[in-house]
Symmetry: C2
Subunit: 507 residues, 2 copies
């Protein structure tokens, strides 16, 4: 490397670090808003977050950044070195950011700010019409955005790329088609089987005891409280301000024994991803999860593959029973295990079990594709939503609030986001299967609370890369193949045959 | 106003708002560091705060800001309107900021970063020599800074101006000379009087009960918890991210009944100042306390004039006694009142009572003047410190840690800061005396927990102005005179004659 490109690189890195510092500050302002901020601070906080984000964006998209990237591009191809990776990812981010005009970015910001409000009203009033006008505008702006960014095959590719870089709508469609074909019969088979009782999960369980139990589990699985913490917020989330400062939030319901625990495990999965990133990448744009799907794979892995497994509860159920003797004293481990894995179709995604969950996502992906292709009008959505829900899950939402209005994502302009949830679920099974084959006795390790081997394996194979490798590259490298529904379907068939009987084993 | 200057003003305001948003974000990052941040986050946090501060500075000191201010200057003189005040204060901030070269600012930042470390070591090892070299550099840089900024009479004026705009070293010297002449004999007279017993303050007092009592008092005096909160940190402080989001911190010692409560009252005084600023100024550089001295006047007013008054405890002592029956059951109100106002010379400023406190400050001011005038060498400081301490307070520190090394301020480059503590004490008495004469039965109001009249009077006469008026202008407007030691001396003579007997009434 010449000394000129050396100083060019240092200048580029300085720009990236400053932009990332401002992003990290914005993330802390948002964390504080959900945890400790007095409500009266909302207006100033929104303004401050917007200033941080736009200042970060302006710092990065300057002409100077483009000049530096142009001068550095030849020296940094095809290498996994720190420098090559910084330049490669910055060039991708820069190209994307520059394709969006400030006018379009401004128009999207104004429209979504309004749409959030109209969505809230529409949701509260169970009245989609209230939101439809803004949603039409958002779809129009998303199509404009896709055209500005450009795509090889389908405008949806350009939208998807923001959340799951490197994967196309056609690939998602193929994967989802496979998944749907196998999954719908499984769901129908389970519906015919007899259901485990689970009323005992909804007795009254002391919040402090739930919190303490959750904290113990997080410590055991290896979330590093020297480099992170957990707080309470109304909607659980995770965020990080550096790889050494990762925050989880959870909520505890007295009348739900498991929602707090599983949301903690879920967020800790996200958090351990951030904590596991190579320290060399700290403070740069590489120090993030590589995609939303890969992030979700880590949260789902700890929540479901680990947390809802029989091995896990073989070890922990006795502890939980001891803490809640009154309600769990007469409930056996097997009954408990079946109860926390009960499959029951619900119209609402966030209440869905792990089997039916992906059908909720597929429905949204299909509708998003139709909207972007302008094959369906916004006003037709409520009806279409209910029809598909009925065909996939055998239930019909009672109104818009339980149907087409249930998620805020579209109001935020996030079209192309939903598929990452299912991609995450599928990848979690691929990653877990691979870990299992390499670590050997993983079930036994989980049953004896030996989580370090799994955590360290995930760190070495997924976390430490940050954004150096894309999700597809990690999966390719791990499985010698692409993202696939097969390992997840295998996992579901095996687990739920055990719970509901072999009737669902078919195909 | 022409439409050209109208749009110039809007552009200026946008710059100021963005710079203030970044400052507010930096303040939240610092608050989080002291309250909830895991320690491992320290390194990234320091970097993020530095990025926010330098980005805010760069946004503001651009040539463009200067052009706008130049074009706006004629239209905005001599008016208290929002626009005139924004331009007037921005012009002052801009002129000051532009006089400091980036090189000098960088050199000061590097030197103080190193000095903080050497001060910590020196403090821990009770060895001034370890810190002396860095302090010499800091004094040199402060002299350079003063020359760069410029001054009419004395280089110290330029340093003081950063913390207490509009007041000169000569004025401070005159005020402090008056104060010293009267105060030293008072301190000596008290030393000859018999001391109240106060051992009961240091029994074991449950932290939760202390916290609850403190929160009740803060609610009563009118700190607005809809627009603020209180948390725990190792060093109490207050900060704000908008006038609607003001944060206090306190610390509770189980073996000290009063330190938590009085630090809460002190910080709430600061906090109510910020909460009381005119909402029109929100998000601009006017939405701050006008000087450190005026800020301190508000904290001291609530801590001392209100919180350490007989009227206050006439109302609250019964409550406190009820909460801590075991230790306070046999302690009378009078004994308690005398105990919390016990005057006892200590070598350490932060442990000083309200009577001896100002002598600690004067000593520092005198030494700072001698250093800036280069009449004394850094190496001579420890001896000189001890000699003056002995002459003012009759005690000699045992070592550097209890003497010249006790405060971190100099290591931070903050020369010109200490006088604001005493100016704050003196102004608190001026402001309180004025409130008393206008509100009439203030003692009775305090004794019946009727704090709204005082708080509203302070808001109308001090808080709501933000930086529209300087501290001297507020005092001038309120008293028809300048900052003076007389009201504070009157207050001290009256209060402590009551506690220690009339022997101290002299002069």
């Amino acid at each position: 490397m010449s000394s000129t490109t050396g100083s060019d690189f240092q200048e580029l890195l300085k720009i990236i670090r400053a932009a990332c510092d401002l992003q990290a500050a914005a993330a802390l302002l948002e964390w504080d808003q959900e945890t400790y901020m007095p409500e009266a601070g909302t207006e100033a906080r929104a303004r401050q977050v917007a200033t941080l984000q736009s200042t970060s964006h302006e710092l990065f998209v300057r002409d100077r950044t483009g000049e530096l990237l142009e001068r550095l591009k030849d020296e940094y191809e095809d290498s996994m070195s720190f420098r090559a990776s910084i330049v490669r990812v910055a060039a991708r981010d820069f190209a994307r950011a520059r394709k969006l005009s400030p006018e379009l970015v401004g128009e999207i910001a104004r429209t979504t700010a309004r749409a959030k409000e109209s969505w809230r009203h529409a949701y509260g009033e169970n009245n989609f019409d209230r939101f439809a006008g803004d949603l039409e505008k958002i779809i129009g702006l998303c199509i404009q955005k896709a055209e500005a960014i450009g795509y090889a095959e389908h405008p949806y590719d350009a939208l998807l790329d923001e959340y799951e870089p490197g994967i196309t709508a056609a690939q998602v469609k193929d994967i989802f088609d496979d998944l749907r074909t196998s999954l719908v019969p499984i769901v129908h088979a389970i519906e015919c089987a007899s259901q485990p009782r689970n009323a005992f999960l909804y007795y009254s369980y002391d919040s402090d005891i739930q919190w303490d139990f959750g904290m113990e589990v997080l410590r055991d699985i290896g979330f590093d409280f020297q480099r992170g913490r957990q707080d309470i917020s109304s909607h659980p989330f995770s965020t990080s301000f550096s790889t050494n400062d990762v925050r989880l939030t959870t909520r505890i319901h007295e009348r739900n024994l498991i929602s707090g625990l599983f949301s903690s495990l879920h967020e800790a999965g996200h958090g351990m991803y951030e904590q596991g990133i190579d320290p060399e990448l700290e403070g740069t744009s590489l120090a993030q999860g590589t995609s939303l799907g890969m992030h979700e794979s880590q949260s789902r892995l700890w929540e479901n593959q680990v947390g809802r497994s029989r091995s896990f509860w073989t070890s922990y159920y006795h502890d939980l029973q001891r803490r809640f003797k009154q309600h769990l004293g007469s409930v056996s481990l097997d009954e408990f295990y079946r109860a926390i894995n009960r499959v029951h179709a619900s119209p609402v995604r966030v209440e869905a079990d792990e089997v039916t969950y992906n059908l909720h996502i597929m429905l949204r992906f299909e509708l998003e594709m139709l909207l972007i292709e302008e094959k369906v009008a916004v006003r037709e959505l409520p009806e279409l939503w209910c029809d598909r829900m009925e065909s996939y899950l055998g239930i019909r939402p009672e109104g818009d609030t339980d149907g087409v209005l249930q998620d805020i994502h579209w109001a935020l302009g996030a079209i192309g986001y939903f598929p990452t949830y299912t991609l995450g679920n599928l990848m979690s099974a691929q990653v877990f299967a691979c870990a299992k084959s390499e670590l050997g006795n993983l079930d036994e390790q989980i049953a004896t609370r030996e989580f370090a081997p799994l955590r360290e394996w995930l760190q070495a194979n997924v976390h430490h890369w940050g954004r150096k490798l894309s999700a597809s590259e990690i999966i390719e490298w791990m499985t010698k193949g692409g993202i696939s529904a097969t390992p997840w379907l295998d996992y579901v068939r095996q687990k739920y045959s055990d719970i509901y009987g072999s009737l669902i084993l078919g195909s």
